[in-house]
C-alpha cells in the first residue's frame, strides 16, 4: 500500500521541520535523501569534469553522466539517448527550441499556436520569435473551467502554423490537457508540437515515442531532483537538422579560427562544463520516482485533491479557479476580497507553505479578471491530515478578515 508517512522518512526536510506542511510542490518539490546523497557523494568521492578525461575517475564520471542520459531516455520512453539534451531547466530547454528550431524556420505571416493557460516560459520565447520574424502568436482559448476547446483549437491550425506549444498540465489551474488529441490534430497537418512537461514529469506516465511528440521539456527540481537541471527531448529527425545556438568546449568536432565543425547531437547542444553533480542527482530522482507504482501515486494525489477541493468549497468566499474535469493535484483559489498574499502570509505563519500570485501565468489571470490566486499543490509525501489542517486555517483566515 501507498504510505505517505513511510515516504516522508525519505525526505530529511520533514525531520528537520516536523511542523512543515509543504503545499508548494508545483514551484519545486522536496528532495529525497538518495538525491541529496548522490550529489554530496559525487563531490566527496569522485568529483571530476566530464569529457576528455583519461584517468579512471574522469572516465567514470563521463560514463555516469551518459548513463543518466540513457536513464532519462528510458524514463520518458525515448528511442535513443541521443534524443536527450541536458539543460539548466525547462526555461532553457524551451528557449533552445525557440532559437535553434523555430526561429530559423519561421517566416513572415507564419503562426505559432499556444494556449491561454501557458506558463510565461511557454509564451514569451514564442512571442518574441514571432515579433522578430513578423509571425503571429495564436492563443487557443479556454472555457471558464480552464479547459481547452479542441474544436476551436483545431480551427486555429493551418498551413501557416509552424509550431504548437502547449503545457501537459497547467501549473495554475491543474488542467490536464488532451495531449494525444492535440498531437494528432497537429500531426495531420505536419505541425511539430512541443509539450511542456514541467508539471507532469514527476507523476504522470510519459511516453514520448508512443505519443510521437516532437519536443518534450521538463525540470529536475519539480520531480524530486536538484535545481539547475533541465531536460530537452527532441526527435532525432529534428535534432539532426538543428544548428547549435550556444557555443563552447566539447560541443565541437573541429575548430579553426575560420570555421567550426560542430559535434553531433546531443553533444553540440551541451557546450561547456555541464551541471555534472546535478545530472547525477537527477539520475537518483528518476530512480526514486520510478520506485513507486504510478497508479498508487495517482490515487493518493487524487484523494488529496478531492479532499482539499471539498473542504475548501465549504469555506465561505472560496472560489476555486480551474475546475477542469481532468485535473492534476494543483488547486488555485481566491478567498473573497482577501488578497492571496495575505492568505499565504497567514498560512505561512502556521507553517503551511503555499504560493500566491499570478504563478507566471499573468494573461491567464487577466482572463479570469483576477490579479492572482492562492495555490496549493501536492506531492507524494502530503497527507490527508495536512489537508484537514490547511482547510481549518483557511477558515480562520476567512473569519479574521471578514470580522468573524
Amino acid at each position: 500500500m501507498f504510505d505517505p508517512q513511510q515516504i516522508r522518512t525519505h525526505f530529511p526536510i520533514f525531520s528537520h521541520r516536523p511542523e512543515l506542511i509543504y503545499l508548494d510542490n508545483a514551484a519545486t518539490t522536496q528532495k529525497p535523501i538518495s538525491v541529496i546523497r548522490a550529489i554530496s557523494d559525487f563531490y566527496e568521492k569522485e568529483n571530476t569534469n566530464v569529457h576528455r578525461g583519461i584517468y579512471e575517475m574522469a572516465a567514470s564520471t563521463s560514463q555516469k553522466y551518459e548513463e543518466v542520459r540513457q536513464k532519462t531516455a528510458d524514463f520518458i520512453g525515448a528511442a535513443k539517448k541521443e534524443e536527450i539534451v541536458f539543460t539548466s531547466g525547462t526555461t532553457a530547454s524551451i528557449n533552445l527550441v525557440a532559437q535553434s528550431f523555430l526561429i530559423p524556420r519561421l517566416e513572415t505571416g507564419d503562426e505559432v499556436v499556444i494556449s491561454m493557460m501557458e506558463h510565461h516560459v511557454n509564451l514569451i520565447p514564442w512571442q518574441q520569435a514571432c515579433k522578430l520574424k513578423g509571425a503571429k502568436l495564436v492563443v487557443a482559448p479556454i472555457n471558464k473551467a480552464g479547459e481547452l476547446d479542441l474544436k476551436i483549437f483545431k480551427s486555429l491550425l493551418s498551413e501557416r502554423t509552424k509550431l504548437v506549444a502547449v503545457t501537459h498540465v497547467s501549473n495554475t489551474l491543474g488542467t490536464i490537457n488532451p495531449i494525444g488529441e492535440i498531437l494528432e490534430m497537429a500531426h495531420k497537418r505536419d505541425i511539430p508540437v512541443l509539450v511542456d512537461g514541467a508539471q507532469s514529469a514527476a507523476h504522470f506516465d510519459i511516453d514520448v515515442e508512443a505519443w510521437d511528440v516532437d519536443f518534450f521539456v521538463f525540470s529536475g527540481h519539480k520531480m524530486y531532483g536538484p535545481t539547475g537541471v533541465g531536460i530537452l527531448y527532441g526527435k532525432e529527425e529534428h535534432f539532426t537538422k538543428m544548428l547549435p545556438v550556444h557555443f563552447g568546449g566539447n560541443a565541437i568536432r573541429e575548430v579553426r579560427f575560420e570555421e567550426t565543425v560542430f559535434a553531433l547531437p546531443p553533444r553540440c547542444f551541451e557546450p561547456g562544463t555541464p551541471n555534472i553533480a546535478g545530472v547525477i542527482g537527477f539520475g537518483q530522482a528518476i530512480d526514486f520516482v520510478s520506485s513507486f507504482d504510478k497508479k498508487g501515486v495517482k490515487y493518493h494525489l487524487q484523494r488529496l485533491t478531492e479532499l482539499a477541493t471539498e473542504k475548501l468549497q465549504k469555506v465561505k468566499g472560496v472560489k476555486i479557479v480551474g475546475t477542469a474535469k481532468n485535473k492534476s493535484p494543483v488547486i488555485s483559489f481566491t478567498l473573497g476580497n482577501v488578497h492571496p498574499h495575505d492568505v499565504a502570509t497567514f498560512l505561512g505563519a502556521e507553517n503551511i507553505a503555499v504560493r500566491a500570485g499570478h504563478h507566471c501565468t499573468q494573461p491567464l489571470m487577466d482572463f479570469y479578471k483576477i490579479p492572482g490566486t492562492s495555490r496549493i499543490s501536492f506531492a507524494i509525501y502530503n497527507t490527508m491530515e495536512e489537508v484537514e489542517r490547511m482547510a481549518i486555517v483557511i477558515k480562520e483566515i476567512q473569519r479574521f478578515f471578514n470580522g468573524r
Binding site: H339, D342, T345, A349, M365, P371, E396, F400
Partner: protein
C-alpha cells in the same frame, strides 16, 4: 492565532484595508504616480495636484494585499494638504524610523502598526511600496 501575525494585521491596518482613505480615481490629476510591485503584481495609482507647493486633491486606486493597501491609504491620509517639504519629512519618518529603525518615540498607531512587517521579510515591500514611490517624487520635486 500567531502573535507576530496579530501584530502585523493590527486593527488599524484591517480598517484601512476595508475602508481606505480617499479611495477613488482622478485621471485628470496633475500628477499620477504608479506604485507597482512586479514581484507580486500589487499596483496602486496615486492621483494628486501640487498647488503653491502643497499636495492637494490626493486620492488613490488599485489592487494589493491588506498591508500594501492600508499603507497606501495611510500615506494618502498623512500627506494630504501638506507642503512638499513637510510631506517629505513624514515619508522619511515612516521609512527610516518605522521600517528601518522601529523607533520607540513614535506613538502614532497608523505608523507603528507597520513596524511588525520587519518580522515578515517577504512582506516588507508591501508596507513601503507606495511610500517608496512617493519618496522618489518628493525627492525630485522638493528643493
Amino acid at each position: 492565532m500567531d502573535d507576530k501575525l496579530k501584530e502585523l494585521y493590527k486593527s488599524v491596518i484591517l480598517e484601512h484595508d476595508r475602508s481606505p482613505f480617499n479611495y477613488n480615481k482622478n485621471e485628470s490629476a496633475e500628477h499620477i504616480i504608479q506604485a507597482y510591485n512586479e514581484i507580486c503584481g500589487d499596483r496602486f495609482d496615486i492621483f494628486f495636484d501640487v498647488k503653491n507647493g502643497v499636495i492637494s486633491n490626493i486620492c488613490f486606486h488599485g489592487y494589493g494585499c491588506a498591508i500594501s493597501k492600508a499603507s497606501t491609504s495611510i500615506l494618502i491620509k498623512k500627506i494630504k494638504g501638506q507642503p512638499i517639504d513637510d510631506a517629505k519629512k513624514i515619508v522619511d519618518l515612516f521609512l527610516n524610523n518605522i521600517i528601518v529603525n522601529n523607533s520607540n518615540e513614535i506613538k502614532d498607531e497608523e505608523f507603528t502598526a507597520f513596524s511588525a512587517a520587519r518580522e515578515f521579510p517577504a512582506r516588507l515591500k508591501c508596507a513601503t511600496l507606495a511610500w517608496d514611490e512617493m519618496n522618489k517624487f518628493l525627492t525630485v520635486n522638493g528643493k
